[in-house]
């Protein structure tokens, strides 16, 4: 942990070249899956965070484990925006692209700003490399890159030159390329090498000193290369951001989700039993929890998603906090068992880290198309509570809220995140856990009725008691057949069935949020209200603020509680001329809003496996204000599939 002094870090190379100060900048590292771009990006991010910038990252990797070297399919990218003001997205366009090979250049050049910097590894543009990337001619020569500031660097040669004396093998030295690129990037944006040096030493220092040395040499060579060569005429710096004071860390959505679950168990004085079957992009939650066994966390890698939810239900029946996590296809498989949890009214948390669909779809890409599945995807009238996290760090709180609702209302709760939140990261003002509210849970120990124990005798919130095996005198039996209210016996009585269907619905409908059910940006009335949910919060908020600065009468209402919808929402919607609902689907939240409030909400829908850019939202708002509703209406039409 390093502390930062008040005076801004002066880049060490700053004496030689003019230094331009930027409010914020976005850099993307792109190369082969084997080129270590994720590591370079992460290090650059950590360094930027440590020097006090606000940061937001977007890693983007292929579905294949390791597609053939040099091919378009094999390109792995890592984008980070670092800023002196607070930011909410990894940035729309890239100021500087580092492309380690032609494939990386080809797949990423479109995102670079006109006039942006493009650093390419000159040594990997041989005809064979170009061919692999499907380039007829060499883009470095045929003018493809006119309008960009192209900087060709023979990274292979320079790296091996730098590390040749370490005695490390050619292959291993070659692996240091990413450190050279990182060093160069650090110089360009005046980032200190310290944090990376620490990281290298921590990782290899003891076990593989030679490897450590080689990486360090490459890193420094890259830095010095920027400083000494004439390729770069200027250098940049991004002053630290004015973030609220305190201790920060960087966090991804999956980390936050896992930590939130452990925190919830801790706050409830319960054991967490996490049951899951691996699936991208949810697997890391299982991995993280499996490494926290000293918190009494039990992880169960089940034989499939159905077994996972079954085990979670069994754990909840036993009195633990049962939870199951997956992604879209896995959630589809759990549908029948969710019904069992609804009928037995047991606490259960289900996490859906949404990815591109339908079917196997785009496993490593992000999307928001599982909302209606979460709400309607089961047989019968089968209501559950649904919460959606708005940012990587929000996953922590959303997870705690999910467990709080599940146990307070004896109901399954779905927590929706997505691939963008799961893998993206942001700085997080570390919370003081002693300040987090406890989760109060009482298991009955004695009969709750003169006639004996009544497992379905409800409290004023229509919630039944959570009585667990091992309690003498409360022996009872539950199951998936319709239950008689109060007694919990099997009942085929028509009146009781209607009563129970409506009771289960009312219990969910009347849930009182235990966290913010909507996040507002701007006043609660005006011309345009942008209503969003989930991982699009950052882009929508940034766009809304930009427009507000321009004097546009626009506000944003971001929904965290998808079911039940926020109490005030219906009224809030009516305070605006236009309602725009941007979603990474064909309009799922929109259908809920239109149905519930009969408000003619319009959709701004994107289904590309990618998050919104700020400009896409801004353009959407402009369009709707300009009355360009019919265009959007086409989208709306498609959205309803009919």
């Amino acid at each position: 942990m390093s502390t930062i002094t008040e005076e801004p870090t002066t880049p060490p190379g700053a004496r030689h070249k003019p230094v331009h100060t930027l409010p914020s900048a976005t850099i993307r590292f792109a190369g082969d899956s084997g080129d270590g771009m994720q590591l370079a990006g992460t290090q650059f991010t950590d360094t930027s965070a440590i020097v006090g910038n606000d940061i937001s990252t977007f890693p983007d990797f292929p579905a294949e484990i390791r597609a053939p070297a040099g091919t378009l399919a094999g390109v792995s990218g890592f984008q980070v925006q670092f800023s002196s003001t607070d930011i909410f997205t990894p940035g729309d366009d890239v100021d500087a692209l580092v492309a380690m090979n032609p494939a990386a250049l080809k797949t990423n050049i479109k995102s670079v700003k006109k006039g942006g910097i493009v650093i390419v590894n000159d040594d990997s543009f041989a005809p064979v490399d170009l061919k692999k990337a499907g380039y007829e001619r060499n883009p470095l020569e045929d003018g493809t890159l006119n309008g960009f500031r192209l900087i060709k660097v023979p990274i292979n040669k320079l790296t091996s030159a730098a590390a040749k004396d370490t005695g490390l093998g050619v292959k291993d030295i070659d692996r240091c390329k990413n450190m050279f690129a990182l060093g160069l990037s650090c110089w360009l944006y005046g980032r200190p090498l310290g944090p990376t040096l620490d990281h290298i030493n921590a990782k290899f220092g003891v076990r593989k000193p030679v490897v450590a040395q080689a990486n360090i040499l490459a890193l420094k060579a890259g830095f010095n290369y920027g400083e000494t060569t004439e390729l770069f005429v200027e250098q940049y710096q991004v002053p630290k951001a004015k973030l609220p004071a305190g201790k920060y860390r960087k966090i991804t959505g999956n980390e936050a989700t896992a930590m939130g679950m452990i925190a919830a168990a801790n706050l409830a004085g319960k054991e967490l039993v996490y049951c899951s079957y691996p699936i991208t992009p949810a697997s890391d939650i299982l991995h993280y929890l499996a490494s926290q066994k000293n918190f009494g966390v039990v992880t169960f890698q089940a034989e499939d998603e159905i077994a996972a939810i079954g085990a979670a239900i069994g754990a909840s029946f036993g009195g633990a906090l049962g939870c199951t996590g997956t992604s879209g296809p896995g959630m589809a498989l759990k549908a029948e068992a969710v019904g069992l949890a609804v009928m037995t009214e047991l606490p259960l948390v289900l996490i859906d880290v949404q990815r591109g669909g339908p079917s196997t779809g785009l496993p490593t890409k992000t999307e928001q198309a599982d909302l209606l599945q979460a709400i309607h995807g089961r047989n019968g009238e089968c209501p559950v509570a649904v919460i959606a996290a708005a940012s990587p760090s929000d996953c922590f709180h959303a997870a705690i809220e999910a467990f709080t609702l599940a146990t307070q209302y004896m109901t399954p709760v779905m927590l929706l995140t997505d691939g963008y939140l799961a893998n993206g990261s942001e700085p997080w003002l570390i919370p003081d856990v002693s300040k987090l509210p406890r989760i109060q849970i009482d298991h009955p120990t004695a009969p709750n009725d003169a006639k004996g124990f009544m497992p379905y005798k409800r409290n004023e919130k229509l919630v039944r008691p959570w009585s667990i095996p091992g309690t003498p005198g409360l022996e009872h039996r539950i199951g998936g057949l319709e239950k008689q209210d109060v007694t919990g016996g099997v009942s085929y009585d028509p009146i009781n069935h209607e009563h129970m269907v409506r009771t289960r619905a009312a219990k969910i409908a009347n849930i009182t949020p235990v966290g913010e059910d909507m996040l507002w940006t701007g006043p609660q009335s005006g011309d345009v209200l942008v209503v969003g949910w989930g991982g699009t919060w950052g882009a929508i908020k940034a766009a809304t603020l930009d427009l507000q600065h321009e004097g546009v009468s626009v506000s944003a209402c971001h929904i965290r509680y998808m079911n039940p919808l926020p109490r005030g929402l219906g009224n809030a919607l009516k305070q605006f001329k236009h309602v725009l609902v941007p979603e990474l689907n064909l309009g799922q939240l929109r259908t809920l809003i239109r149905n519930r409030y009969l408000v003619d909400a319009k959709g701004l829908n994107k289904v590309k496996g990618l998050p919104f850019t700020i400009h896409e939202i801004i353009d959407g708002v402009r369009a709707i204000m300009a009355g360009k509703v019919t265009d959007l209406e086409v989208v709306v039409g498609a959205a309803n599939g009919g």
Partner: protein, 340 residues
């Protein structure tokens, strides 16, 4: 898992394990007898009602939990093993019994069935095998004989029946036993043995569905043919059967064959060893069946082995010994920075 009552010392009778629910099986159904024997065994072992849980799937057999005055979970079709596994992971202290049918366990639930056995979770499984789908009114099941005419196979089933015992042993079952609904003493014995086993104990119970598959086990219940068709397995004893105990089982060219004791050297007979480390002999027994062979009854296999939830819990213990988790430390993580 302690099965002795923690909360009381009063001795319980079989009837104390009955609920007020009226039993809703068809008159004459084999399930009644199984329920009765189970309650007897509970009483005999003085099982703590508060710490005992019956988990089931869906099927006539799966109605079982409603009739036991313990904790119970009548879940969904085929998934009982998953619920029981989660329950044991959360509560290793509980005495968990699972009740399932041939369709519930081997058709829709086949995969969970295989995996719970493989993991050797400490639960007792009662598999009611009536070789038919009872609750859905009589379609063939994975244990129905080929050619069986049912509602869904008016021209006879084209499928080859599966042997629950074979699958269980292949999955590494540490305990497998077989009995039949009407042989109450034997059934009681087998249930006791299962209760005493630590790990997954599978008890396959031949059960007569007198509505949709009546007489499926007549060869094993009929006074006349019974003893000719049943081979009672006894630990350490040679495999002998027949009303006059005049027949035995021996191995010839690695396959079992029935031999006449008059003409056979007793030492050639197979000796039953439920503790055999290698499941192959038990597997061999699982392949024996009517009409070519007598049906082996009793405990095929009972070996000690690590229990899944123990192994899982040990990891928590080991990790915790290195230091109980500190929430603030976890949330803080390794790399942090301060903003003044």
């Amino acid at each position: 898992m302690s099965i002795a009552p923690s909360n009381t010392l009063t001795v319980l009778k079989a009837s104390d394990y009955a609920t007020d629910q009226e039993v809703r099986w068809c008159p004459g159904c084999g399930d009644y007898s199984i329920l009765m024997q189970m309650k007897k065994v509970c009483a005999k072992l003085g099982m703590d009602r508060a710490k005992t849980v019956f988990v089931s799937g869906i099927g006539c057999s799966s109605r079982f939990p409603y009739y036991m005055n313990t904790y119970g979970f009548h879940s969904i079709h085929g998934r009982a093993p998953t619920i029981a596994t989660g329950l044991k992971l959360a509560r290793p202290d509980l005495n968990v019994w699972m009740v399932t049918g041939d369709g519930d366990a081997l058709s829709i639930g086949g995969n969970h069935f295989m995996h719970v056995i493989r993991r050797n979770v400490d639960i007792k499984i009662l598999l009611f095998n009536n070789r038919i789908y009872g609750l859905t009114k009589g379609q063939y099941s994975p244990t129905s004989e080929q050619g069986k005419k049912t509602k869904s196979t008016p021209m006879g089933s084209p499928e080859f029946p599966i042997r629950p015992a074979s699958i269980a042993l292949a999955a590494g079952a540490t305990f497998y036993a077989r009995s039949i609904d009407v042989d109450v003493k034997h059934l009681e014995y087998v249930l006791e043995r299962a209760a005493a086993h630590r790990g997954t104990a599978l008890v396959e119970i031949y059960q007569n569905c007198n509505i949709f598959n009546d007489g499926a086990y007549d060869h094993l219940t009929d006074k006349v043919t019974k003893s000719e068709n049943t081979l009672y397995l006894e630990q350490g004893k040679p495999m002998i059967f027949g009303k006059a105990a005049d027949k035995g089982i021996r191995l010839h060219d690695l396959t079992p064959e029935v031999t006449d004791l008059k003409t056979t050297d007793p030492d050639d007979l197979l000796i039953h060893d439920e503790k055999h480390a290698d499941p192959t002999v038990a597997f061999l027994l699982s392949r024996m069946g009517h009409p070519r062979f007598p049906e082996p009854m009793g405990v095929f296999r009972a070996v000690g082995h690590d229990v899944y939830e123990d192994l899982v819990r040990r990891q928590n213990t080991a990790a915790t010994e290195k230091g109980v988790g500190d929430l603030q430390a976890m949330v803080t993580g390794e790399e942090t920075w301060d903003v003044a």
